[in-house]
Amino acid sequence: MAANSSGVTRKAFLRGLGAAGAGGLIVGAAGGYAGGAASSSSSGSSGKSSGSKAPIVIGSGVPVTGLYAGDGQMMQRGQRLAIDEINAAGGVLGRQLQMSVLDTQTQQPDVMKSVFQKFVSDGVAAIFAPFCTYSSVEFPVVAQAGIPTFHVNTWHGNVDFVKQHGITNIFQGDPSETWYGPGFVVLVEELIKTKKWKPSSKTMAIVTSNDPYSLNIAKTFNTEMTKLGWKATMFQQFTAPQADWSAVLVNIRNNPPGIVFFSDYAASDEAAFIKQFRQSPTKSLVYQQYAPSIPQYLQLAGSAADGVLWSTVVGILQNDPIADPFQAAFTKQFGTGPGFSNAGDQYDLVHMWANAAAEAGDPYDFKSINEIIKNTVYRGVCGTYRFPDDYLTCYPYPDYTKDPSLGMPHLTFQIQNGKQVLVSPDPYSTGSFQLPSWL
């Protein structure tokens, strides 16, 4: 056939083309990852020579989409502000910082592993991943690489894992969740002792979301209070998000408790609850854990939140010489305040790491940097960071240490006239407890 002077039939030609194309797809896909990684790691390795002026890349793993995206935005802003300040002051060892953001979604194991793996492959100098898995499956990935890694997952299981596996580079920048319950019990006792509050009855209604975190806090509180002779009239779990509380409120109003203890970390849930509670309140002290620290809480709840108590094991200090400039700078840069926790702790942790990296003289000398951090006492906008033992976690003041310069203050706030007033502990407090208007 004239058409086939080349000796290749059209069919054979197409087959060859198809195979080459499909093969190319596989190789291309794999090569794409490898190539991308190679280019960044080559820049990383060139950056690793200590004389280089190339920017230092740090990894930010935050929830950008999904349930915790609101928290994620505040975390990222805290990191951003710290980086901008450091860069404006000349960077770390004369090198600018760059942030590489990856989405941790809802911290599913595969997502976290892949995020950590990418940070390791890209050769970042430090990882700031405020939320991580509770099973710690991604920890070995960074443990092997030794990169200084910081989280505020507030979960004892994570620090246990670090201790058990002898990990030296994964730091929890706040105390574990186990300190919440006991901390509030101490506060309740003191309120009664100082006659600032007289419970209508020694009963409590406990409402908690059903994740192990909130559940653990609720259970420890229940146990500690039962020891002191209190009785739970209600212990109810729900699944976040939950916006309609009428049925729970029917039960509370049927049997008004002395304390309503609410344990959940979704701002909208707790705001919705207090709005609906205040429409016809019972004579109960209302404690809501953590969520009021998120700025949206006050916006969402408005004046309904006046009188509510809440606490956090990590929070931004008020009327404080270190925290105030941060508050101002944050508000200036983002047009909204930083709230009470994650923006502050991320800001602190980036600064703390940058100091350690500068001190070590090389941002990629992970071993020295980790050593320095472990032996640091750092006073940031959230109080004192100190990692006294192999758990590599902070401990609370006054629950654990009686010296405020050695522990992170476990802050209790009360919302008064739409403002957050720090009522405990001294010397950080900015006001004192006031009896809520409905009591």
């Binding site: 198809g18 794409g32 490898a34 953001v101 990856l102 599913q108 192990p212």
Partner: protein, 356 residues
Amino acid sequence: MSERPSKFATAFPDMTAGRWAISGVLIVIAALVPVVVSNEYAMTVLVTTLILLVLNISWNFVLGIAGVWNFGQLAIYALGGYGAGILMLHTSLSPWLALLAGGVVGAVAAILLAFPTLRLYGIYTSLLTFAFAEVIQYVILNDGSGLTGGSFGLPIVRGLFGTASIASANRSYYWTVLAVVVLATLAVAAVSRSSLGIALRGLRDAPAYAAARGVSPLKFRLIAFALSGFLAGIAGALYVSFNQSIDPGVMGLTPMSIDVTMLVIGGMGTITGPIIGTALLAIVQTALVSHPGAELTILGVFLLVVVVFVPGGIVGLVSRYRKRISTWVAEDDSGGDPAENDDDVQPEGSTEQSVA
């Protein structure tokens, strides 16, 4: 020896020697990837994608080939994962047996789910199965017994390769999951070409006619669910082995929308569709990983455009062009056998299937 290949060949009547050769070459290339790739992030992404591919192959079978609108597949996947994970956690059973057990859990769950869907049609099936998935997720989230760990997921499990280093574990998982993908593809292809597959498509395209011809919806739907559930369970077990944990985040609207997009873009109801769709979207997702947030918008646009303008997905598009090309080839290759032009593609609403 002479008997086996011929039997094998009859299971895949449209697979010529040439096609087998191409498939073989592709598999070998795929198997060599870990040798070339030294980046552990790339390996993690590849293994995760292959695991997702096993899930998509299983879902494609029940959704595309059997035509049952099962939107509970992610719950079956999760149940398989939890089943295998719990066995790895609390028993000294070989993790390989736990993997199989995950498949069995998936199959059993799928069979139980199949019964109430029998009398339902189309969209009602999808709601019932979706409700099933919601209940499973809810029960796991609310599990106070500590068995599943609620929203925090399972504590760390052994996995298949115990204490191997990250790099060698990644490679071992890659080859393991690749083998499962190949076997699953062969199984689905063989089944959909068998009389069972013909019956399933008959029930999908003309339920009344198929039933009148003696095809039992009960029996075939159960078989379809069982096979698809088994594969989904294995996928879940692979997930829990590789990631050493699993949490309820594997279920829900977002992962489901990504999986559906993969199936639709590749070509639902075809054998190669899930492979192409999963690979393509994995590449897109990886490329977008540094632009979190934009990813889902782009996926949504992709999905819309493909469904509206490329019915049948990429495989459907290719098969339409192949028809044109085969005419072009036929002009040249006048002695060629016409059987060559057969597709592995079943275009939606095709009428070529008759019920035996």
